[in-house]
């Protein structure tokens, strides 16, 4: 892992941002944050981070889904690794559409509360895979998008 990798954390929960940000910084990441989807999109365009950690339930409870779609539309951000970290499945029991069902253009979905060791391991793996240009592209959409 390159010590100067930048991670952008998009989450409106300041406690979560402080906790995860501290964890990532202690592991050598340059940590940037944004408290909402729109702000996060602008920062991602400006920073071109090596990794994005994205919350779903922010100002709107589905905001992160829309932000993710917009991130993938930005030229240059299509292959940026995105880990979605959200408690939406616990908070919305009726919502059972599996994140692995191929509809979510993120690289990985982790449910909150997130295991720190797993987060660090997956972050390294995804950044390394992207850098090596291996085919660990986002769980592809079944309709070929």
């Amino acid at each position: 892992m390159n010590p100067s990798n930048t991670v952008l954390i998009i989450d409106d929960d300041p406690d979560f941002v402080r906790a995860v940000g501290g964890l990532m910084a202690a592991s050598g990441y340059q940590v940037e944050t944004a408290a909402g989807g729109r702000d996060g999109l602008e920062r991602a365009k400006a920073l071109r981070p090596d990794l994005i950690l994205l919350d779903i339930m922010m100002a709107d409870r589905t905001e992160g889904f829309f932000t993710l779609e917009q991130l993938r539309d930005v030229p240059g951000l299509e292959r940026t690794p995105v880990i979605v970290i959200s408690s939406i499945y616990a908070a919305q029991p009726a919502f059972k559409v599996s994140p692995e069902a191929g509809w979510l253009p993120a690289d990985l979905f982790l449910a909150k509360p997130v295991d720190p060791a797993r987060l660090l391991a997956e972050s390294s793996r995804l950044i390394a895979a992207t850098a090596a240009d291996q085919p660990s592209s986002p769980p592809g959409r079944s309709n070929g998008r």
């Binding site: 999109l41 709107d60 779609e69 539309d73 509809w103 998008r145």
Partner: protein
């Protein structure tokens, strides 16, 4: 047809899954109006809107479209593949779906089958929602306020839920993917749908009498009404631009300076434009504004009927809403009917033109 329902409180979760089927477009605010655009968040989506500025037609017959490139060295490069971007149009009103079904008659079938239009239609999912008519809507008079085909899903408000009508196998895929968000409906839900749909039809305040209108237009071909309209009309073409079923287009070859390579471009045209009926040699078959505005009304309510069996107007009210000269198709039809009765022409037949 499979029918399900979704609690309104889960609609945002359902819409979040839709981008799996294509780029999501939904009605959002645009200035003082509304437009189909990519929403940045669920809170951008306007579920209750009167009409959009431009109709959904813009996705299928874009204002400007490059159809192929040509180059003396490389030959022709067809740009058809770009038409195949998967999209989802969410929140389309019945009269707009009706308008697309009318455009299908022209572009998807028969002698003018257009591969660019067909590719876009095939790759764009349509999710309809019902609407509350305002004073400009007269879709009920045009039989376009309810539609039974042309959508993948159709959402109908029944209080705390939307009934979800599944129209196609793609719609069924969306329903299956959403899984537990959708529930089976009950008899009470169907009763509520029936109550609301007839309530909505009677809520339409603006009515237009279509009985024998094509014949009356034939009789009133030389009416003063057209001259008066010609004085009012600015020939700006706004009515054509915002109409769900206007489809006139112009074709130009745009050649790069200093080369013989270029692009063939198709772009929106309007029969209101001065040059619309101008031909090589300088003859203009509709030189006066009066003749041009008459032509547009005749095409919508007479010519299209002769060709396809129903008027191409769907009663959305966009033309009246956007006309800078305040010309309103409803008033024009009423004037023509009033004029016809004043002239003593009796209406021929008692049946309105077929759907």
């Amino acid at each position: 047809m499979k029918i399900l329902k979704i609690p309104k409180k889960h609609l945002d979760l359902f819409v979040s899954v839709l981008p799996a089927f294509g780029e999501l477009y939904a009605p959002v605010k645009r200035g003082s109006g509304y437009a189909f655009d990519r929403p940045a968040a669920w809170s951008d989506v306007q579920m209750a809107y009167p009409r959009t500025i431009l109709p959904p037609r813009k996705f299928f017959l874009p204002p400007r479209e490059a159809t192929f490139r040509f180059d003396p060295k490389e030959g022709f490069t067809d740009l058809l593949v770009e038409a195949a971007t998967p999209r989802v149009l969410f929140g389309v009103h019945a009269y707009d779906i009706y308008g697309l079904n009318i455009l299908d008659r022209v572009f998807a079938q028969g002698k003018y089958a257009d591969p660019y239009y067909i590719a876009r239609r095939k790759h764009t999912a349509i999710i309809g929602i019902d609407f509350v008519p305002d004073d400009r809507h007269f879709a009920s008079s045009m039989n376009a306020d309810f539609v039974d085909t042309g959508f993948d899903l159709f959402l109908s408000d029944i209080g705390d839920h939307y009934l979800v009508l599944v129209g196609t196998s793609r719609g069924d895929d969306m329903a299956v993917m959403s899984g537990s968000l959708l529930e089976p409906p009950t008899e009470a839900d169907f009763a509520e749908y029936k109550r609301r749909s007839s309530e909505r039809r009677s809520a339409s305040r603006t009515q237009v009498d279509l009985a024998a209108l094509p014949e009356i237009l034939e009789m009133e071909y030389h009416s003063q009404v057209w001259e008066e309209l010609g004085q009012q009309c600015l020939s700006c073409g706004s009515c054509s631009m915002v109409c769900p079923t206007c489809y006139c287009f112009d074709v130009n070859d745009e050649v790069a300076l200093g080369s013989r390579a270029g692009t063939r471009v198709r772009s929106w045209d309007s029969c209101l434009f001065k040059t619309h009926a101008l031909v090589a040699g300088g003859e203009n078959f509709r030189h006066s504004r009066a003749s041009r505005i008459k032509f547009r009304f005749y095409h919508k309510q007479r010519g299209f009927v002769a060709e396809y069996g129903r008027p191409s107007c769907v009663g959305c009210g966009r033309c009246a809403a956007s006309c800078p000269a305040g010309i309103d198709i409803v008033t024009v039809i009423q004037k023509i009917r009033g004029q016809a009765d004043a002239n003593g022409d009796r209406a021929v037949g008692t049946n309105a033109p077929g759907r």
